[in-house]
């Protein structure tokens, strides 16, 4: 299940400047990387931001395989996107798309590698508490975000497990054999997570 940790990254205890920085500032840095990358059509700006985000991810003092490593499925997807655009004569667009997605990914790692989930949850609760007057439940919202952060890598890892199972039966080229089990596993995971929270009386709001 290593892939479960390979996509967004997990918290790595260390003494970097990022670990001392408040969550709000890390969000600002993330947005400072992601917004120009998304808004710009310049391949050079996207590549420059990608280089910067790689450097910043490395400065978290997490091992480089954690800070920079990518699951094979994602590499294959990026290669397919870049390859398709190169074949259609739009290599710049392909490169811009891939580098923009990587900027967002490494930017999010900057946050997740240097922030324990409980700190992230506390920050989200604080940030959304003013919305209570509109009936918003900050605790549930923050819990949902924390679970989403955990769930995305699970789904990514499921693809890896299902691919291996399909390959063992010679079905690696059958899209249904690859997608259907992932959908089933994802639904089962969602139910399990709901049950796990209910088993501790969590996620149902304060009484």
């Amino acid at each position: 299940m290593d892939a479960s940790r390979a996509l967004l990254g997990v918290y790595v205890p260390a003494r970097s400047v990022w670990h001392r920085l408040g969550v709000g500032w890390k969000y600002v840095v993330f947005l400072g990387l992601a917004i120009p990358a998304v808004a710009s059509r310049s391949v050079w700006l996207s590549l420059g931001l990608l280089a910067l985000s790689l450097l910043l991810a490395a400065s978290t003092r997490a091992p480089l395989r954690v800070a920079w490593g990518l699951p094979w499925g994602l590499v294959a997807m990026f290669a397919a996107i870049a390859g398709f655009h190169a074949l259609t004569g739009e290599w710049r667009l392909g490169l811009t798309l891939v580098s923009t997605m990587l900027v967002a990914l490494y930017g999010s790692r900057l946050l997740l590698i240097t922030t324990p989930i409980p700190v992230l949850v506390d920050a989200l609760v604080r940030a959304t508490t003013p919305l209570c007057r509109f009936g918003f439940d900050p605790e549930r919202f923050a819990l949902a975000v924390a679970i989403m952060v955990r769930s995305i890598p699970f789904v990514a890892a499921s693809f890896g497990d299902v691919r291996d199972a399909a390959r063992a039966r010679g079905l690696e080229r059958n899209p249904l054999a690859l997608v259907a089990p992932v959908v089933v596993q994802t639904v089962a995971f969602a139910r399990q997570t709901g049950d796990a929270l209910a088993a501790r009386g969590l996620g149902e709001g304060d009484r």
Partner: protein
Amino acid sequence: MSIVLDGVSVVVAAPTASDGRSVKAILSEVSATLDERRVAVIGANGSGKSTLLRLLNGLAAATSGRVEVDGIDVGKDPRAARTKVGFVFTDPLSQLVMPTPAEDLELSLRRRIRDRGERRARALELLAEREIAHVADSSVYDISGGERQLVALASVLAVEPAILVLDEPTTLLDLRHRERLRQVLAGLQQQVLLATHDLDLALDADRVLVIDEGRIAFDGQPAAAVAFYRGLMGA
């Protein structure tokens, strides 16, 4: 603490059943009042043990009959029941929703302790009580199955339930961790209700229910219940 099951039946749709029926009774007219501190439920696979346990905190709903936990009608107020009943699953990985044991315990403690520093300290304290403080910041994927089960148990106990329900808690454990879990369960203050295939664990209980095809086939002292179950299974 008292658990009351009054004529409880659980019927589910079974569109692919081999006998051609469109519904299947998982539990049929189960009645019992459980006041003992340690109650074990044993029975064959598919006999209805897990469903019986899941009724107690509303993870499953009765089709008919009444389930009451400490005076709370679970069917009418499952949320209130969940504050009383903690549930430990067979596979602890299904139970742990945060990346590390310490963070998972902190999640359980959120409602009780608002300050993050205090919460973290309490989480570490609870892990130390179970002798698993050394895994506090490890990924839940990197620790052993036995350690995971103890973390799952600690996470559920952190919300201080009055009743602890465990669904086959020793199934995935080696002998050493199984013995450790038995010791931990023996020392708990909570009323404990567990389903198990581990007959040694069942013998530790004060009372044992044998479930067969959705009905209570035997209800009594552990030694007699285990002997009855062995006879039922032809073992």
